[in-house]
C-alpha cells in the first residue's frame, strides 16, 4: 500500500516536472534583441535623392534676403517683417546652398537649436556663414561639426532674426510675435543632403583669429559691421568687466527673456568692448569669470540692438585663461 502511494506521488510529481520543464523551455526571454547596425543610418537624416550642386553662394543669399545689399538693414522686398530687425522671405524655387557645419548646439547645448553653416570659396577665399535653425535640442550627433551639407531652400525661409542672417521657418513665439525660427527636424531632413564624412580639419572649422591689436582694431571698426562678416566663428581676447573671481558667465538671477546673460569683454589694445552671451542651464554658464585675460572662441555675430559684436561660447574648451 505504501509503495502504491509513492507511485501515485511520483506520477504526479513526474507530470509536474514535465510540465514545469516544458514551460520553462517556452519561457525564453522576449526582450533580447541584437544591437542594430547603424553604419548607414545617416541616410535617414537627409533627402533620399541627391541634390544638385549649389546654385547660389551664401554671400549672394545674404545680400539678397538678409540685408539691404550688405548693410545691416531690412531688404527692399520680403514676405513678412515684424519690424526692422526681423524679416523673412519664403523661397519657392530650388535654391541650393552648400557649406560646412562649423558650430552646432554641442554637448552642452550652448547654441540652442542651431547649426552654423560656413563656406570659404576655395578660389576667392570669400568666407561666409549663416545660421540654420533646426528644431531639435540635440543636433550635434546628427549634424556634427565638420559635416559638409547641401540645403535645398525651396519651401524654407531666409531672412534675419535680430538682423542676424538666418535660414529657418516662421513661428509664433509665446508672446505672440511672428519670427523666423527653427525648421522642424523632419522638414529639414527633407531639404538637406550630407556630403561625405565629417572633417573637422577643414578651413571652415577654424576660428577666425581676432586676437591681438589687429583683431581688436577689426572689431572696433564700424565698417566691418556688415552681414557678409557674420555670423562666423572667431577667437578674441580681453578681460571681463564684471569679473570678480566669483561671478559666473550666467546664472538664473540675471537671465533675460532669452534665457541668456550678457557679459562685457573689454578688448586688450583699445577701449572697445564686445558682448559675451551665455545661456543659463549649461556647463559653460557655470564658468567663473577670472580677473585675468581670457581667450574666447565661438559663434561670432553682431548684436544690432547694442551695436556690438557678440560671442557665444560653444563649449568649455572655448574658454582659456591667459596668464599675464
Amino acid at each position: 500500500m505504501k509503495k502504491l502511494h509513492l507511485n501515485i506521488k511520483s506520477s504526479y510529481l513526474s507530470l509536474m516536472a514535465v510540465a514545469l520543464s516544458s514551460s520553462m523551455l517556452m519561457t525564453s526571454c522576449y526582450d533580447d534583441l541584437d544591437d542594430p547596425d547603424t553604419s548607414d543610418y545617416a541616410a535617414n537624416l537627409q533627402v533620399s535623392d541627391s541634390l544638385p550642386a549649389a546654385n547660389i553662394t551664401l554671400r549672394d543669399l545674404k545680400l539678397k534676403y538678409c540685408s539691404n545689399n550688405g548693410k545691416v538693414e531690412r531688404p527692399a522686398t520680403y514676405t513678412y517683417s515684424r519690424n526692422t530687425s526681423n524679416w523673412e522671405t519664403r523661397i519657392d524655387e530650388d535654391l541650393i546652398v552648400e557649406g560646412v557645419i562649423c558650430a552646432n548646439d554641442g554637448r552642452f547645448g550652448c547654441l540652442y537649436q542651431m547649426l552654423l553653416l560656413r563656406c570659404i570659396d576655395p578660389t576667392t577665399g570669400d568666407d561666409q556663414g549663416i545660421d540654420v535653425e533646426v528644431k531639435n535640442t540635440c543636433l550635434y550627433p546628427l549634424y556634427p561639426v565638420g559635416q559638409r551639407i547641401r540645403i535645398n531652400l525651396n519651401g524654407l525661409y531666409v531672412g534675419a532674426y535680430s538682423r542676424v542672417p538666418r535660414i529657418g521657418y516662421p513661428y509664433y513665439t509665446s508672446s505672440g510675435n511672428h519670427n523666423l525660427g527653427p525648421i522642424p527636424l523632419q522638414m529639414f531632413m527633407d531639404h538637406v543632403q550630407l556630403i561625405g564624412e565629417p572633417d573637422t580639419t577643414v578651413a571652415e572649422c577654424k576660428c577666425i583669429d581676432r586676437t591681438g591689436a589687429e583683431g581688436d582694431a577689426w572689431i572696433r571698426a564700424s565698417a566691418n559691421k556688415v552681414v557678409t562678416n557674420y555670423p562666423t566663428i572667431a577667437t578674441v581676447r580681453g578681460v571681463f568687466l564684471e569679473a570678480d573671481g566669483v561671478a559666473t558667465l550666467a546664472n538664473d538671477s540675471l537671465e533675460d527673456a532669452g534665457y541668456g546673460v550678457n557679459r562685457t569683454l573689454k578688448l586688450l589694445s583699445n577701449n572697445s568692448t564686445m558682448i559675451v552671451r551665455t545661456n543659463t542651464g549649461n556647463e559653460v554658464s557655470h564658468i567663473v569669470m577670472p580677473k585675468d585675460t581670457v581667450e574666447l572662441s565661438g559663434l561670432f555675430s553682431y548684436d544690432s540692438y547694442d551695436d556690438k559684436w557678440q560671442l557665444n561660447l560653444r563649449d568649455t574648451t572655448d574658454f582659456k585663461i591667459i596668464k599675464q
Partner: protein, 927 residues
C-alpha cells in the same frame, strides 16, 4: 477605427472639439466674475520666445503601473451577497473597482497570513497569476463580517486556503486561447487528497504567453508554479506551500486623443518602436515573487482550533524605462512637440479658422507636415531605436557619454510574516476568534543600467542638475561617497535606498447569535514602525544651516516613525426565511503607508509634513432577499476618510526633473448604493440585473509639498512658496482637490443579462452600461501656486467682490480668489475634471460540459467580451502633470506664471480604452 476625431482638416480649417466635462465647479454666489476672457497675471515677465522646456520625459509613470494593479477582483461575501459575488468578473473589462476603493482597502490573506504589501498597502494579484485552479478555495467577507481569519479593510477581504488537503482530488489540464494581454495559456493542476499515510500533495504549473499581445508592441511571458504538501499528525497538521510566477511582460502606454486619432486606433501604444526592423518595447516588467509558507494547524478540541503560519517572500520586481541626458531630445514618439497641435492653439477659435490660417499658411503647412509624418508610416509614430543607437554612437565616437539609455527600476522586497489565529466556540451561540499578525518588510529600491544603447560611457550624475548647477557642483552627484562614478550595464546608479516597515497586530472578533439575530464586534490594535535607509548620499539633500554647517539628509537611516492604530467594528444582522438585514459600522485609525511617508524617498530621509494616523469610518446597510424565484441584494454605504497622505511621483516638465508631490490632511468620502437581482423564469432560464451608483470625492483642499529631483534644497524651498498677493505673506501650499472625483473606475454601472442551460450547454449574455468614469486629476496643475491667483478689483453695488476672471476660465484653469480687504482666500477652485462619455458593452459566453466515464469530464467555454466592438469606452486616464504656461525664472521658478504655450496640456489628457471585441476559449479536461 476611431469614429470621432478631435482634429479634422477640412478646407484649411481645423476644428477642435473639447472633451466633455462635468459641471464640477459651482461658483460661489458671493463673488462676481467678469465675463472678459482670461486675465493674465500682471507684470508677467516676457518669456523666452522659444520653448526651452525640451528636456521632457514622462508622465505619471509610477501611477501608470499602479493603475494596472488597482483593479479589484470580486470581494465576495460569506453571507451570499449576490452583488459582490458577480460584480468583479462582470465589470472587470472596465477596471471596475468596488465602491471606487483602491486595492489597499481590501485585505488578502493566504493561509491566514495577511499578504497585503506593507509598503504599497496593496495585494499583488500577479503573485498568484496563472494559479486559477489552486486558489479557488477561499473565504471572502465584507468589511464588517465575522470571519475565521482576521481583520479586513474597509473594502472587505478574503483568505485563500492553499493547504494540500483542500485541493480537489484528481488532475486537471486546461488549454486556453484568447486575444488579450496573452494569447495562450496552459495549466496543469493536481491534488492527491489525503492519502492513507496522512500526506496530501497538490500542485499547479501554468504558462501564459504571447509573442505579441492584443496591444501592438507588447508581449507576455509567464510561468507559474505552486507546490504544496501537508502531513496530518493526529490533531496536528503541518503544511508547506511554495509558489511563484516569474513573469516578463511589455507594457502598453496611454496616449492623448490626438495621438490615437493620428494612429487611427485607440490602442496605439507609444512604448515600442522598431530596432533593426524588429519591435522593441521600452517598458518591460520583470516580476518574480517566490514565496514559501509553513502552516501548523492544531485541532485543540471540537471547540478550539489554532492555526499558525510562518511566511517568507522575496520579491524581485523591476520595470525598464527609456531615459535621456539633459540635452538630448525627448525620445517619446508622442512627446507633445512631435504632435501637430503643438504648432498652434487648435482650441482657440480666433486662430483655428480659415481666415487666420490662410494668412498664416506656414502654420497649416507645418501642421500638415507633422500630421502626414505621423500617418504616412507606422514606424514614424513609434520609438526610433535605431536613431537612439546612432546618436549614442556618434556621441561615443567623440568621447561623449550615452545620451539615451534604458534604465531598470527595481522595487525588491523581503517579507517575513507570522500569524496565529485561534477559532473558539464559546457556546452554541457565541464564537470568539482572535489572533496576532506580525510582519517585517524590507523594501529595496534602486535602479540599474539596463542598456546603454550603443554607448560605452555613463557617469552617475544627475544630468539635469548638472545643467542647472554645474557638473562639478555637489548637487549634481547621485552619491557624494562615490562621485562621478562610471556606470556600466547592470550597475546601480541614480538612487539606492531601503525602507523598513514592521507591523504588529492583535485582533479579536466576537459573535453572538440568538434566534434570527446576530451581533458581532471586532477590534484590533496595530503598531507600525517605518524608516528609510539611504545607501547613497545624494548631493541634492545636503542642507546648510545658518552656521554654515552642512547636514546630510540622504545617507543612512531616517530614524523610526511609529504609529499605534486600531479599529472597532460592529455588525447587527437579522435573518428570517427569506430575508437578511444587516447594519454595520466601523472606525479605524490607520498608519500611513511608507510609500507616502517620505518627501522624496529616492533622495532623502525627510518625512513629509503632517504625517499622522488616518481616520476611516464607514456605515453599511444590506438587505438580502428571496421572494419566490427572485433573489437579490440591496446595499447602501458611506465611507469617510480623513487625514490621509497621498503621494504622486512624475516627471515634471516645467522643471525638467522627477518630482514628488505629497498631499497631506486629505479628506475623502465614498458613498453609494448597490443592487443585484436574479429571477428564475424556468429551472434552466434566469434573468438578472445589477447596478450601482457611487460617489467618491475629495472633500477638502489638502496641504501640498513638492520636492523636485535635480534641485538644491534651497531651490526646492522656493517651488513650495505660495505668496499671499494681498499681504505678501507666505501661505501653506495647497492642492485644489475639493470636489474632484476618484478616477479610472465607473462610478455608475448597470448590467442586465440572462442565463440559459440545456443538455450540458450553458449560455449567458450580459449587457453593461458604464458612466461617470473620471480622468485622474493632476494635483500639480491644481497647486495654489500654479493656478492663477486673483484679487478682487472692486466691490459691486451689492457689496460683493468683483474679480477680473471669467467663469469659463475658472472652469478650465481653476483659480484662487483673494479678498483684497481681509487678505484672506475667498475661494479656491480646481480646474474642472473631465468625465468620460458613458457607453455600453455586450458580453456573451457559451459552454458545454461533457461527462466522461470513470469520473472524467471535459468542459469547453467560449467567452466573448465587447461583442459590438465598442472601441470608444475609456477605462481610465490621467491629466498630464504640466500646465499650459511658461514660467518666469525657468529652472528655479519664482512661482509666477508666464505666457501661454501653443500646446494645451489641459486639453490633452492621456487615456486607456477598454479592449475591442475579444474572446477567451477555455478547454478543461479533468480526470
Amino acid at each position: 477605427m476611431i469614429k470621432e476625431s478631435l482634429f479634422t482638416t477640412s478646407m484649411g480649417m481645423l476644428m477642435a472639439v473639447s472633451a466633455e466635462a462635468a459641471p464640477a465647479v459651482e461658483l460661489a454666489p458671493d463673488t462676481v466674475l467678469q465675463s472678459a476672457a482670461r486675465v493674465t497675471a500682471e507684470g508677467a515677465i516676457q518669456q523666452a520666445e522659444d520653448d526651452a522646456s525640451d528636456f521632457t520625459f514622462t508622465e505619471s509613470q509610477l501611477d501608470e503601473d499602479m493603475d494596472a494593479a488597482q483593479t479589484v477582483s470580486s470581494v465576495g461575501s460569506s453571507s451570499g451577497n449576490l452583488y459582490l459575488s458577480e460584480v468583479g468578473f462582470t465589470w472587470s473589462s472596465m477596471r471596475f473597482r468596488v465602491r471606487a476603493l483602491d486595492n489597499q482597502y481590501q485585505t488578502s490573506y493566504l493561509n491566514g497570513l495577511a499578504f497585503n504589501d506593507l509598503e504599497m498597502g496593496r495585494f499583488n494579484y500577479s503573485l498568484l497569476g496563472g494559479m486559477n485552479d489552486a486558489t479557488r478555495n477561499k473565504e471572502s467577507v465584507t468589511a464588517n463580517e465575522f470571519n475565521t481569519f482576521g481583520i479586513t479593510g474597509v473594502g472587505g477581504g478574503s483568505n485563500i486556503k492553499l493547504r494540500a488537503s483542500r485541493f480537489q482530488q484528481g488532475q486537471k489540464f486546461t488549454l486556453s486561447a484568447c486575444n488579450r494581454n496573452y494569447k495562450y495559456r496552459a495549466i496543469y493542476t493536481f491534488g492527491t487528497g489525503q492519502l492513507l499515510n496522512g500526506w496530501s500533495f497538490g500542485g499547479t504549473v501554468a504558462y501564459r504567453g504571447a509573442s505579441e499581445g492584443v496591444i501592438e508592441g507588447t508581449f507576455y511571458n509567464s510561468l507559474s508554479y505552486l507546490i504544496t504538501a501537508e502531513k496530518q499528525l493526529g490533531d496536528h497538521a503541518l503544511s508547506f506551500v511554495t509558489f511563484g510566477a516569474p513573469t516578463e511582460r511589455a507594457q502598453q502606454g496611454a496616449s492623448t486623443e490626438e495621438a490615437y486619432w493620428l494612429a487611427n486606433s485607440h490602442y496605439y501604444n507609444p512604448n515600442w518602436g522598431y530596432q533593426d526592423g524588429k519591435k522593441r518595447n521600452a517598458r518591460v516588467v520583470n516580476d518574480f515573487e517566490p514565496t514559501g509558507m509553513l502552516t501548523w494547524d492544531w485541532n485543540i478540541s471540537d471547540e478550539s482550533q489554532l492555526s499558525t503560519t510562518l511566511g517568507y517572500k522575496y520579491s524581485m520586481y523591476s520595470s525598464t524605462a527609456l531615459s535621456f541626458a539633459g540635452e538630448a531630445y525627448d525620445p517619446r514618439p508622442d512627446y507633445y512637440k512631435n504632435l501637430p497641435s503643438s504648432v498652434f492653439n487648435v482650441y482657440d477659435e480666433d486662430i483655428n479658422n480659415a481666415t487666420y490660417l490662410t494668412g498664416n499658411a506656414f502654420l497649416l503647412e507645418q501642421y500638415n507636415m507633422m500630421k502626414d509624418y505621423w500617418t504616412s508610416a507606422k514606424a514614424n509614430r513609434q520609438i526610433q531605436w535605431d536613431r537612439l543607437y546612432y546618436i549614442n554612437r556618434q556621441s561615443d565616437a567623440t568621447g561623449g557619454e550615452a545620451l539615451y539609455y534604458q534604465e531598470r527600476r527595481h522595487n525588491d522586497q523581503q517579507v517575513w510574516a507570522l500569524s496565529s489565529t485561534l477559532n473558539h466556540s464559546l457556546s452554541a451561540h457565541q464564537r470568539l476568534n482572535a489572533g496576532i499578525q506580525l510582519n517585517a518588510t524590507k523594501g529595496m529600491h534602486y535602479k540599474t543600467m539596463a542598456d546603454l544603447l550603443g554607448a560605452t560611457r555613463f557617469t552617475d550624475i544627475d544630468k539635469f542638475a548638472a545643467g542647472d548647477y554645474g557638473m562639478s557642483s555637489p548637487v549634481a552627484q547621485s552619491d557624494l561617497r562615490h562621485p562621478n562614478r562610471q556606470i556600466g550595464v547592470d550597475d546601480r546608479f541614480g538612487y539606492d535606498y531601503e525602507t523598513m516597515v514592521n507591523m504588529e497586530q492583535l485582533w479579536a472578533q466576537y459573535q453572538y447569535s440568538i434566534g434570527a439575530q446576530t451581533i458581532n464586534v471586532q477590534g484590533h490594535l496595530t503598531g507600525t514602525q517605518m524608516q528609510r535607509n539611504g545607501l547613497m548620499q545624494n548631493g541634492q539633500a545636503q542642507v546648510t544651516d545658518e552656521n554654515g554647517t552642512v547636514h546630510d539628509l540622504s545617507y543612512g537611516k531616517s530614524g523610526w516613525a511609529t504609529f499605534l492604530g486600531g479599529a472597532v467594528k460592529a455588525q447587527y444582522a437579522y435573518r428570517n426565511a427569506n430575508n437578511r438585514f444587516s447594519l454595520s459600522a466601523m472606525y479605524e485609525k490607520k498608519a500611513p503607508l511608507v510609500r507616502n511617508a517620505f518627501v522624496a524617498p529616492r533622495i532623502q530621509n525627510n518625512y513629509v509634513d503632517n504625517l499622522t494616523l488616518e481616520d476611516i469610518y464607514m456605515i453599511d446597510g444590506n438587505w438580502q432577499l428571496r421572494l419566490g424565484d427572485l433573489v437579490g441584494t440591496v446595499s447602501g454605504y458611506y465611507i469617510g476618510m480623513r487625514n490621509q497622505v497621498e503621494q504622486t511621483a512624475f516627471f515634471n516638465d516645467a522643471y525638467s526633473a522627477f518630482t514628488y508631490l505629497t498631499m497631506s490632511n486629505v479628506d475623502k468620502e465614498h458613498y453609494g448604493v448597490e443592487l443585484a437581482l436574479e429571477y428564475s423564469i424556468l429551472s434552466n432560464l434566469s434573468v438578472h440585473c445589477m447596478g450601482t451608483w457611487n460617489q467618491a470625492l475629495y472633500t477638502n483642499n489638502p496641504f501640498a509639498q513638492l520636492n523636485t529631483q535635480g534641485m538644491s534644497a534651497r531651490d526646492n524651498a522656493r517651488v513650495n512658496v505660495w505668496t499671499n498677493p494681498v499681504t505678501g505673506d507666505r501661505e501653506k501650499l495647497r492642492v485644489a482637490a475639493d470636489g474632484m472625483h476618484v478616477g479610472s473606475t465607473p462610478l455608475t454601472a448597470v448590467n442586465v443579462g440572462a442565463e440559459y442551460s440545456v443538455n450540458g450547454y450553458f449560455l449567458e449574455v450580459n449587457l453593461n452600461w458604464f458612466d461617470r468614469v473620471y480622468c485622474g486629476f493632476s494635483q500639480y496643475r491644481r497647486l495654489t501656486n500654479i493656478m492663477e491667483n486673483y484679487t478682487n478689483t472692486s466691490i459691486n453695488s451689492d457689496g460683493l467682490p468683483v474679480y477680473g476672471v471669467s467663469e469659463e476660465s475658472i472652469r478650465e484653469n481653476g483659480a484662487v480668489l483673494w479678498d483684497s480687504s481681509t487678505g484672506e482666500v475667498k475661494r479656491i477652485y480646481g480646474a474642472e475634471q473631465e468625465k468620460f462619455h458613458p457607453g455600453f458593452m455586450l458580453d456573451a459566453s457559451v459552454g458545454k460540459y461533457i461527462r466522461l466515464p470513470h469520473s472524467r469530464s471535459i468542459s469547453i467555454n467560449l467567452q466573448v467580451q465587447n461583442l459590438t466592438n465598442n472601441t470608444n469606452l475609456r477605462t481610465g486616464g490621467y491629466e498630464q502633470n504640466r500646465d499650459d504656461n511658461y514660467y518666469n525664472s525657468y529652472g528655479t521658478g519664482d512661482g509666477s506664471k508666464g505666457l501661454a504655450k501653443a500646446y494645451k496640456f489641459s486639453r490633452n489628457s492621456k487615456y486607456y480604452y477598454a479592449n475591442a471585441v475579444n474572446a477567451f476559449l477555455n478547454i478543461n479536461y479533468r480526470w
